[in-house]
Amino acid sequence: MAKNEGEAVLRAENLKIHYKTKKSYVKAVDGIDLTLRKGETIGIVGESGCGKSTFGQGILKLLPQKTKYYGKLLVRDVDVTPLRENDMRKVRGKVVGMIFQDPMTSLNPITKVEKLFYETLEEHNPGISFNESREVTAQILQKVGIEPRRMREYPFQFSGGMRQRVMIALALVLNPDIIVADEPTTSLDVIVQAQILNLLDELRQSYNASIILITHDLGVVAEMADRIAVMYAGHIVEQNEKEKIYYEPKHPYTKLLLKSIPNTNPKDLELTFIPGSPPSLVNPPIGCRFASRCPYKMSICDEKEPPVVEIDGGMVKCWLYTQGSDNQ
């Protein structure tokens, strides 16, 4: 997939998402810039609590009501940050579809599959008849590899992988431009994972949709994404094409993250990990957020937030790459 081509379907400009807690705000997403183009898949990776899921749900504004949004989030050139619940509903499902992490719990257990589809279709096309909806449902189920006659069953009659297929079909049935897949394969075994990922990729091509793939699994993004954005403590610390990220990681965090992927070599019993833990997002440090765990730490890292440096076709947010741009 060529970079910098095709229209941007989603653009975050200095987007901040802050959760309200009792006394303070948790700055879960704290100023990220990201552009998603038509037909493109962006993988967002990072460890737990780095804000990647917040970003994903923030696109649909599914977060608690008191959550604050700053900056801009353009979905097909419409800034959704000021939109209220009622206007947001037109975006949900229709423009941006979402696939959730746990297919076991994300389908209403007491509703037949055909009814799930009917309710979703009816929401956005009022007046659609049940029979029409079943026809559409049959087609889409066929596409995700489920026998159409199974639409008369309840979600619990499906296996985990099957349910995730239903979930994908449900997210695609309104033909959205963007699909946010929040850890779509985390709770599935590796074989089913591969099937689901292949399916997603095929569907992306046939629907010409764009995917935001949120995961902590670097194997999954390696398989699917065109570009990868690495998040750490609310920031995107590095963003580039997949190959560049894997073969020439720039940011120290990316490097360490790639090293800590477990492998199946029985002789390599040592599990690598990054010592320390991410900073609190209530009062994040002034300087670089990764500084406390970074092996390449310099004195400036603690003092000033690193700038975003354009490098090698991508971007990295690190003082190591500012070379002589002497900000001090």
């Binding site: 649909l60 599914l62 619940e85 509903r89 037109k90 975006v91 949900r92 499902g93 229709k94 579809g97 979402m98 959730f100 992490q101 746990d102 719990t105 994300s106 389908l107 209403n108 257990p109 007491i110 509703t111 309710e119 979703t120 929401e123 956005h124 006659r149 008369r152 979930m167 449900l170 997210a171 309104l174």
Partner: protein, 292 residues
């Protein structure tokens, strides 16, 4: 697909087998028989009862005999007929009272649990304040203010049970609304009321059905208690609680039949409801078994 289709009778048969197949199912069956028995008594009272329940038909305080199976009371009225007619008042008030409690408590619980915030705080406070009263005392207080009559008694019973529904529903909603499928429904653009009605309500309903059937037994006894204290239906309408009260004055003159038969009627009705609810309870919600 044709195999999925069954005759209605066959489907009813399957359902009945689910319902009554197990040990607890047999309990449910017994309970429902008792219930059906009382309902038949209430509906067909004029055809079943041998005498008019408010007419003097024999001597005062006649012991049970061939003519008067359950004996007569101090005014010479046939106790059997009064017990049969009494089931009308007992059943209609307990059903009505529980229905009113359900209709008020469930929507409030749904809204309170889903919306949360200060509304939830206020409603929970009010309901908890009502809940701390002993049921009968609260019912007496309300009944004393409202006065006698079927509707008024039903309302005073409803006041006692509304908080139960509210609390059960509210807590269940608070748990269910964070379920992934509710989130997923929002992600697909469902409206708020749709989420409440189509996603949350059906998922919390089973726990309420259980409370509903258990409350029927309680409501029946509360009603008997109220009319025993003279706060129920105005005489001479036949009513178990009231008859118990008037019979109780003649126990010392060895007229045991005056309290035994209305009392047994209350006991069996309450037992029927309880057994039935117990069965329904375990049928719909196996996890409740552990909790109790």
């Amino acid at each position: 697909m044709a195999r999925d289709k069954k005759f209605v009778s066959e489907r009813i048969g399957d359902f009945a087998r689910d319902l009554f197949g197990s040990g607890t199912g047999r309990l449910t069956l017994i309970g429902s028989f008792i219930l059906i028995f009382y309902v038949i008594l209430a509906v067909f009272a004029p055809y079943i009862a041998p005498y008019d329940p408010i007419e003097r038909v024999g001597l005062s305080l006649e012991p049970p005999s061939k003519d008067f199976w359950f004996g007569t009371d101090n005014l010479g009225r046939d106790i059997l007929s009064r017990v049969i007619y009494g089931s009308r008042i007992a059943l209609s008030i307990s059903f009505l009272g529980v229905a009113v409690a359900f209709i008020i408590g469930v929507p409030l619980g749904l809204i309170s649990g889903y919306v949360g915030g200060w509304l939830d705080r206020v409603l929970t406070l009010i309901m908890d304040a009502m809940y701390v009263f002993p049921g009968l005392i609260l019912a007496i207080a309300v009944a004393a203010v409202l006065g006698p009559g079927i509707v008024n008694i039903s309302i005073s019973i409803a006041v006692v049970y509304t908080p139960t529904y509210f609390r059960v529903i509210r807590n269940q909603v608070a748990a269910v609304k964070d379920e992934m499928y509710v989130e997923a429904a929002r992600a697909l653009g469902a409206k708020r009321w749709e989420i409440i009605l189509k996603y949350i309500f059906p998922n919390v309903l089973p726990s309420v059905v259980v409370v509903l059937s258990m409350n029927l037994a309680d409501a029946l006894m509360t009603e008997a208690g109220l009319s025993f204290l003279g706060l129920g239906i105005a005489p001479p309408t036949p009513d178990w609680g009231f008859d118990l009260n008037s019979g109780q004055r003649f126990v010392l003159s060895r007229a045991w039949w005056g309290i035994v038969f209305p009392g047994l009627a209350i006991v069996f009705a309450a037992l029927g409801f309880s057994i039935f609810s117990e069965g329904i309870n375990e049928l719909l919600n196996p996890t409740i078994r552990e909790r109790r």
